[in-house]
Structure formats: structure tokens, C-alpha cells
Amino acid sequence: MSLVEGQGLGTTDVTPRLSTADVGDFFALMKPRVMSLVVFTALVGMVIAPGHLHWVLSLTALLCIAVGAGAAGALNMWYDADIDVKMRRTAKRPIPAGRVMPGEALAYGITLSVFAVTCLGLFVNVAAAALLAFTIFFYVVIYSMLLKRATPQNIVIGGAAGALPPMIGWAAVTGGLSIEPIILFLIIFIWTPPHFWALALYHTGDYERAGVPMLPVVSGDRETRRQIMLYTVLLAPLGMAPWLFGFGGIFYAGVSSIGGAMMLWLAFRVWRQGSAADVKENAKPSKQLFGFSILYLFLLFAALLAEHAVAALTG
């Protein structure tokens, strides 16, 4: 199968462009690293949910969630191709690099979205499918199309999309929602701003070139560092909420308290850097916070998963 795209209206070049995309490019469109975090958090939502789902249906649910998340990533890459090409961090992505044509990515994303939501609804339940559909819609339309280029609060509000997977996992098992998945949602929601702003601090030039109003570009790095600190102060105790609400045990309490303390320390180091010149010269605190924030979230969810797995095995 060859895919051919014309050059569009208003051009005298009528040479058809052939698709030069390889399989790896289509996989890259789905943002596999984001997808893996989505699948992991959804899995934890499924494991801690009361009730039982046959392992084939559990696998199906996870596959649908993974594909749905990947589809949202592909649609985001389709929409953001014009700014991705201007940013060093994203210029090598399949569309700005010219390996995948925009039309291909759009068709790919839409097809996968519809397929994932339909399969989840048909084979698992409608509640989970509805949440998955909403997640995709929120990420593509609300975040990518409306918020990202319009407001420095883009990542705060848009972060809700990345926080929904544990709720989808829970709903896949129970058909509904409860306080536990909502707490997991809140943890990821409050985690998202300091995580992304730490990244934005050492990529400010990129975002400025692309015209994306990330907080460091609009309000300066001093305000960004202050907000990172504020959100982390909220995040550290919130991370312990599963233990406080009784669905995380003593092991989780230990992991969340130590992890939260480490996040506070790293955020404090970023906050105290002092000036934009200092941040530019020494990106290490921001990079360390960004890197640890990924580990922190992984450890929180891994601790919950481990506790529930051990409880299930020991009866």
C-alpha cells in the first residue's frame, strides 16, 4: 500500500509525495513513553479496584487504553506539527521531520481513537469507554487545540487528560467511580505542573521560538520556580492521601513520604536558584527535578500495585 498526498491548493508543484514512513515512525507518533505511563497508572487503577475482571478482558481494557492514549498522542503531533518543527526538542518527530505526512497522522489518530473507544465499550463497559473518549477529546481538543497556544495555565488544566487513566482502569473493573480513583487523579493532576514546568525552565528558548505561552515564557522563570515550589508543597501531602484514606498501606506511606520529601528538596533547590541567568547557566536542578518527578510518580503507583498484589497473593 502506497500513500500519496498532493501538495494542496495554491501551489504549482504537482509532484505527488509518497509516504516514506516506516513502522517505527507510526509507533513514535503514539508517544510511547507517555503511553507507558498511561498504561501503568491505568493498570494500578484496575488492580486496586474492588471486583474481578477476567484476565483476557483486563488485557483488552489495557490495550484499548494504550491505543487510545497513543491515538491522542498522534493527533496532538498532527496538530502541533507547525510548532514542533520550530523546537529543537521536537523537530525530529515524524511529521516535522517529513517522514509521516500530516494527513496520514490524522487518519491514523482518528482510526485508532474510534477503534479503541468502540472496543472498550463493546468488550468491557460503557463507563470506561466514555472516560477514554473524554480523555482523548480533552487532550486533543481542549489541551492541544484550545489551551496550549492560548494560556500559560495550559499544562495545569490540560494535565487532567494525563490524570484520567487510573479512573478509566477503575471504571473498567467496577463500571463506576469512587473516592480512590479520584485521589489518584488528583495526585497526577497536581504533579503535572511542576513536572512540565521543570522541563520548560530549560527549554524556554524552544517554547519562545514556537510562540507557546509556557509559564517561563509569559511570566518569567522566577514566577515559574515559585509556582513549582507551591505545587510541590501541595503534592507532597497529597501523595500520602492513599495511605490516609486507607487504600495504601505502611509500605506506601514510607515510599510516599520519602518521595514527597525528595520532591520538596529538589523543588526548593530550583526555587532558590535566584535568576534566569543562573537557571540558564545551570540547568541541573531543573533537570534533576524533572527526572525525579517521573521516578516519584512511578514509585507511588508501583508501591500501591505491589501492596495490592501481595495482599491478593497472600489472601
Binding site: 500500500m1 502506497s2 507510526f26 477476567h54 483476557v56 478482558l57 468488550f123 463500571g175
Partner: protein, 54 residues
């Protein structure tokens, strides 16, 4: 009908052919996996395969 030898049309390079072949193989594998998955789901859910709780 005789082929039109004057009209060359698009000619793929070896690399384009390779990529097209890889895409086709990947698609075939995904479809095969879906067949297996749907069959397994049918076995698990039995006759009520499309009956699901809201």
C-alpha cells in the same frame, strides 16, 4: 488492453518499497492479533459477548 509504456507513473525507490512492505507486514500482524484477541474474548464472554454492564 495494452499497457501504456510511455506513461511511467510513480517509481518507488528500494527504500520506499522496503518501508511500504514493512507497513503492510505490520498491518497484517496487527490484524492477525486482533483476530486472536476477538476470538479469545468471544470464548471468555460466551454467547453474551456483546452484552456488557453500563
Amino acid at each position: 488492453m495494452q499497457p501504456d509504456h510511455d506513461h511511467e507513473g510513480l517509481v518507488l525507490t528500494e527504500e520506499q518499497r522496503r518501508r511500504r512492505r514493512n507497513r503492510s507486514i505490520a498491518l497484517a500482524l496487527v490484524l492477525a492479533a486482533l483476530v486472536v484477541l476477538f476470538y479469545a474474548i468471544t470464548l471468555v464472554k460466551g454467547p453474551g459477548v456483546l452484552q456488557r454492564p453500563i
